[in-house]
């Protein structure tokens, strides 16, 4: 074929406006609005002497003065600190031990434990709190059973220590997750090297394996500490009766306990918490930055060798089985069982109390059904919208010539430092600040916006690493054959990202399903979700209905997680 046989290149359309830049700007502005939407009103309200919708409000620091004059501030701070520290220690110890046992030893039933230990991550703290309450509360099934055996109160869950034990068990899976990933990525050569120089397995564990897990442990410590500080459910359920207050329950009671909530005081307290959490996140960033020396190089092909437990094998198995049984199976199983009974007590034969009344009740009241449907819609639709936004943010931040792309990435991970509780308060204020947004107020749209903002970093964390794995030549070649940036993103980059986007969707779905803290301040008649309704009915003492709702949430979660994994092959948490 000669050159003259080839027609001239087809002319390209010349776009009038550069749509790539337009999209990049739009995505960035959307993210900016989403992230600032809850923070700005809180900051603003904190320095106003009257509610921010009041035209007479002026700037002052009186809120902070009132905050420091709060009569029980000392108690609140020390309770919060004690609760958060103990929760973190319990969660981390359990998490590290289980990760080493499951990930690095020849423990029998590793696969089973590996699966079971992650399950609490999929469920909301509220469900777990009710589960503990049902089994280990003052009139819980297990408590009564043990009291029958020993004749006295075996324990008291209604103490800060009691709360921390429940919260620690609820957060252990997170510590486990970070550590198990670290054990998988460990370079076996490092341990083999230690072995060749004559170190015993225990010695290797303490001098090589655990130090290599240090970044994961450190990361988990700060994450769990922040989560403990932000936690509302467990302190509310267990601290309420005896009026043991931590920071979140104090704010909760300030808003819902008063006829006219003290806006300024709540905002000032929120700012205090925000500063603390931001500080912890900055600290975490600093600590993680120097971790290059813990990065183990190469050797990925070989799996790390497992330590032989020898005669401790079955002892370890029994301990782990007891742990899983007591804190996961019994807690969740008890809750489900409770939903099928009039009252759950070892003093009454089970067959006498079995009933479907709790579920009939769910069907009878529109509020119950509505909150279930709202939750499902928010999870399904909200996660889809969130995934779309996160995909765009990731592509703009990592694969575009956009000038502010680095800043966009920082912005996208910023909500990690905004407790859901404060996001809720902030959006609640924002509604007062921007009256044109009033139509959103009683809709689940508002909750979706809040949830998407809150879990932007979570989804981004699932997508960005996958994007980094994608060779840059794939988009560069699309550019040279004639595709502009947006066409390249749409036809090449995003399709190649599909598995990560599925994971992102699944993660968002699960989080939206279990989220309630953000909703506590935002829901209104018509936009209830399972969590807020559970809290409502728990306050009224409707424990049967609460456990039925919790069981429904567990069921949805189990169905979704199983379907996503088995049918779609989605990876959720590793």
């Amino acid at each position: 074929m000669a050159i003259d046989a080839l027609p001239a290149p087809a002319p390209m359309r010349t776009p009038r406006v550069d749509r790539g830049t337009a999209i990049q700007v739009l995505v960035t502005l959307t993210t900016l609005a989403l992230v600032l939407f809850p923070i700005l009103p809180v900051l603003y309200q904190a320095v106003l002497d009257k509610p921010l919708y009041d035209p007479a409000a002026t700037i002052s620091l009186s809120n902070f003065a009132r905050l420091f004059d709060t009569p029980r501030l000392g108690d609140i701070v020390s309770n919060t600190a004690y609760f958060a520290i103990l929760t973190t220690i319990i969660a981390q110890v359990i998490g590290v031990v289980t990760a080493v046992l499951v990930g690095r030893t020849d423990l029998p039933g590793r696969a089973f434990f590996g699966e079971m230990l992650l399950w609490p991550l999929f469920l909301s703290h509220l469900v777990i709190a009710f589960g503990w309450f049902t089994m280990y509360g003052p009139s819980g099934y297990v408590t009564l059973f043990v009291r029958g055996l020993i004749g006295g109160d075996p324990w008291n869950l209604y103490t800060v220590t009691g709360m921390a034990i429940a919260a620690g068990a609820a957060q252990a899976p997170l510590a486990y997750l970070y550590c198990i990933v670290a054990t998988r990525n460990a370079d076996p050569n490092l341990e083999d090297a230690a072995r060749t120089v004559g170190a015993s397995p225990l010695r290797i564990l303490t001098t090589v394996t655990l130090p290599l897990m240090r970044p994961a442990i450190l990361f988990g410590v700060i994450m769990n500490f922040v989560i403990a500080i932000e936690m509302l459910s467990i302190p509310l359920v267990f601290g309420g009766p005896l009026q043991i207050e931590v920071f979140t329950t104090y704010l909760y009671h300030e808003v819902f306990g008063q006829a006219t909530p003290d806006y300024g005081l709540v905002a000032a307290a929120s700012v205090g918490m925000l500063v603390l959490v931001v500080g912890l996140m900055v600290l975490q960033g600093r600590l993680m930055r120097n971790n290059q020396r813990f990065v183990t190089v190469g050797g990925k092909a070989a799996r790390p060798r497992r330590f032989a437990l020898g005669r401790w094998r079955w002892a370890a198995f029994a301990v782990l089985l007891a742990y899983v049984g007591l804190t996961i199976v019994l807690v969740l199983g008890g809750l489900v069982l409770r939903s099928f009974t009039v009252i759950l007590s070892p003093l009454m034969p089970l067959w006498d109390v079995l009933t479907l009344d709790n579920y009939t009740l769910l069907g009878a009241y529109p509020v119950y059904m509505r909150s279930i449907w709202n939750t499902i819609i928010i999870a399904t639709v909200g996660a889809a919208i969130g995934t779309a936004l996160i995909a765009l943010v990731a592509v703009v931040a990592n694969r575009s010539p956009f000038r502010w792309r680095r800043q966009l990435e920082h912005l996208a991970v910023l909500p990690r430092a905004i407790p859901g509780f404060i996001a809720g308060i902030g959006i609640f204020y924002a509604m007062g600040l921007f009256p044109p947004l009033g139509w959103l107020r009683n809709t689940i749209g508002l909750l979706m916006i809040a949830y998407i903002m809150r879990y932007l970093p979570t989804g981004y964390g699932a997508v960005a690493p996958a994007l980094a794995q994608l060779g840059g030549d794939l988009d560069r070649s699309a550019r040279t054959v004639g595709a502009d940036w947006w066409r390249t993103s749409r036809s090449i980059v995003l399709p190649l990202l599909t598995p990560a986007l599925f994971s992102c969707y699944a993660l968002l779905f699960i989080h939206f399903l279990k989220e309630y803290v953000t909703a506590v301040f935002l829901y209104a008649p018509g936009s209830e979700v399972i969590g807020t309704t559970m809290l409502q009915f728990w306050k009224n003492g409707d424990n049967g209905a609460v456990s039925a709702l919790a069981s429904v949430q567990i069921l949805i979660t189990v169905v979704f997680v199983t379907a996503a994994r088995k049918i779609l092959g989605v990876k959720i948490y590793g």
């Binding site: 080839l6 010349t14 060779g471 699309a478 054959v481 004639g482 595709a483």
Partner: protein
Amino acid sequence: MAELIVSGLVRAFGDVRAVDGVDFTVADGEFLTLLGPSGCGKSTTLAAIAGLDKPDAGRISLGGRDFFNATTGTFVPPERREIGLVFQSYALWPHLTVRQNLEFPLKLRRIGRAERARRIEESLGLVEMIPYADRYPHALSGGQQQRVALARTLVYRPGLLLLDEPLSNLDAKLRERARTWLRHLQSQVGVTTVYVTHDQSEALALSDRIAVMNGGRIVQLADPRTIYDRPSDAFIADFIGSSNFLSGTVLASDNGTVRVGLGERLELSAPSPRPLAPGTAVRVSVRPEQIGVVDPSAANGANVFPAEILERTFLGAHNTLEVRAGESRFRVECRKVPENDHIHVHIPESAGIVFPQAAGH
């Protein structure tokens, strides 16, 4: 028509001037190779031509149309340049079949279904990959992927073809075949081509002209024969082929030929690109294959030296001898290995090139 002009091109990354004032012109249909050691700025130059990277200064135009002009602030994005770039990694889109890979650029150009099918057939035919049209890239060998990558850029008839070390991922045997095939294809299609490689034999075999780069600059731009026979400096003589360098001092210089004293006793006449004053320290580059092993009877001829064999290496097609003559040591290529360790070697006058010592390294 599609003549590529690059002038005064500069691209700096921080303090490193990766491309430092590069000028060249590629005539319509010409095959030009950018050749140079790793890190000399070849890929950066190519990325600037493709529009994947924005240079700091200079001008790039194709067929009279400015792609980049620092003075006027013109910068045409890559998708509007109508050029084809074949990546070292091939960059085939893994979620598309071979056919869909080729179809994408045609769809972007809103070409109708029938015409698309015809052009895909034609391009795949050119690279002999029609039977693989419905496979996914991961089910192809490296050589096959490389052909598809080429077909993908030819399918939309770009005005300029750029190739960045397209053969470097192939094994030696396949590379040689792909080379012949590529050269054949380029002359068949007649597209103006800029080819980047650090493999000198590839450059010599393929190119109409070669631009040898070093440290971000073009040090010589000429046809392969000239580059090989008349390297303009010691770096090129060393980089292209393998040269012996003999150190010496200029004894006399006349009419483009200098006499160089190698050590105490030996004298060598060789051409010099520039006149050199007697006493100048120089290096004479001589290619091993141009040195002859001669009969002792010719021992008194000009440029013939007695030498001693230090080592013999068998390389299949020929042998390499490591020899010493006076204070100089050099390599000699020959078909038949002399039995005696003491031989005479002849360096034809035209074989040596004299470079001033300072210009070398």
